[in-house]
Symmetry: C2
Subunit: 260 residues, 2 copies
């Protein structure tokens, strides 16, 4: 099932997407809800960020080739993480499918995509074993962890390198029926494929992350965990359009524009 | 004016605290609201975390003696930040005044307090100059950035070292009338003063942080910025009670207990 957060005539609602249509739902997918019976053409609604998370988690380094590529680009030896230490991103930076990613005037040349599978939590969870970890997952969406590599290299934290306004596109919707092992991530810039990888071939799996995290932290409905990216990215510039497809989930598309 | 978030007979509401009394308010301090006329003894309400932030910012290293003490305890040379790079904490870890801080069974000995002034944002803000920066501030509260130094030293991120459940006490209320230069922070463990410092003697000031941040990120009503701590902390153990007073704001008190 595909859950979208939609806006139509100024109303914001969750909807279930089937083909070219969306059915309006009263309530949220994380609590009691009912299908209202109202149906709209998908093209007539604006898709919003599918959930605004209470806490916005991100694995960061979680695919081996990406870790090697990043280290090489900074002239360093790769440090492969030895355990699943989670990181964070910020809600201010979230933006929806088809919304522009705005590049500040003083950003450097190395503005890059990171194509990520996003886990959406559906149930409050603490102390989950790896075997039970996926029981708290509601579904999956797609994230673009847009990054500026000069700021990433010189700043003490990842704040503007990763969390500049509009730099966290997420969407287009949440898919609840996913076979993790069969997912493939494909990135296209201006229609040309620049990266393709098996989505689930992570250094630490989703169950490993969730089990480690919930030893210390409670996960809440709507929390998201961005699972990291593979490979490298070309430098993106104003006018570029970046599409991240995860086959079986959907396609997240955003144009990059210069700050006016 | 002192704004608290309160619970009484299962109802959650904002209230204005005057002496030993709280006046119930309909709405939130960040939007249209009205005083309802209902008054309760302050002792009859439970004080909640005064705001649940959309984004939870933290300066981290922002007082010189703390930076030196931390570096020394890790056997390193102090690195004094050269610019105000903001960091993040996580909403799962927030807990209220008088709620217990729970120490997991496998935590090391070096569980420590960090006594912090917390800025509460009242208005959406972008591109503020230092001169205008405080115009977006609604008021101030107190935070205890509880930290486990072994995890902080070995983990790739600050996740469990800083964001374990209950490790971010915040409260007791938001004070809107504050003279930053006259604030003093006093920490007491089991009634004995262990730290005292002039709260506003930061490496980078609140206006410097807000101006730098809003060049790239939009601040939203309810966002909080924890401004860092001075000095060092003794190791805290189950049974200890930690009080952080910022004279002119209030006192945040939490007992430390062992995970059951």
């Amino acid at each position: 099932m595909r859950w979208a957060r939609c806006e139509r005539d100024g109303n914001v609602f969750f909807g279930i997407v089937s083909g070219d249509e969306v059915q309006e739902v009263a309530g949220t997918p994380f609590a009691a809800h009912r299908v209202t019976g109202k149906r709209y053409p998908l093209s007539s609604v604006k898709l919003l960020v599918p959930v605004v998370p209470p806490t916005f988690y991100a694995a960061g380094l979680n695919y081996v080739e990406h870790i090697k590529a990043q280290a090489a680009s900074q002239g360093q030896q790769p440090k492969i993480p030895q355990k699943p230490d989670i990181g964070y991103r910020a809600v201010n930076a979230l933006t929806a499918h088809e919304e522009p990613v705005i590049i500040p005037r003083d950003a450097g040349q190395r503005v890059q995509y990171e194509a990520e599978l996003v886990v959406v939590i559906g149930k409050k969870a603490k102390h989950l074993s790896e075997a039970d970890a996926l029981s708290c997952v509601f579904g999956y969406t797609i994230g673009n962890d847009v990054s500026e590599r000069d700021w990433q290299a010189v700043d003490r934290t990842l704040w503007r390198a990763k969390n500049t306004d509009t730099w966290k596109p997420m969407g287009p919707w949440i898919e609840t029926e996913v076979r993790l092992e069969s997912l493939r991530t494909i990135v296209r810039v201006n229609g040309k494929t620049t990266l393709e990888f098996p989505t689930n071939h992570m250094l630490f799996s989703i169950p490993q992350y969730i089990s480690a995290m919930t030893r210390y932290v409670t996960l809440y409905p709507g929390d998201v965990i961005w699972m990291g990216t593979e490979g490298a990215s070309p430098n993106l510039k104003a006018g570029d359009v970046c599409e991240i497809e995860i086959v079986g989930i959907g396609t997240l598309r955003n144009a990059f524009v210069a700050e006016s």
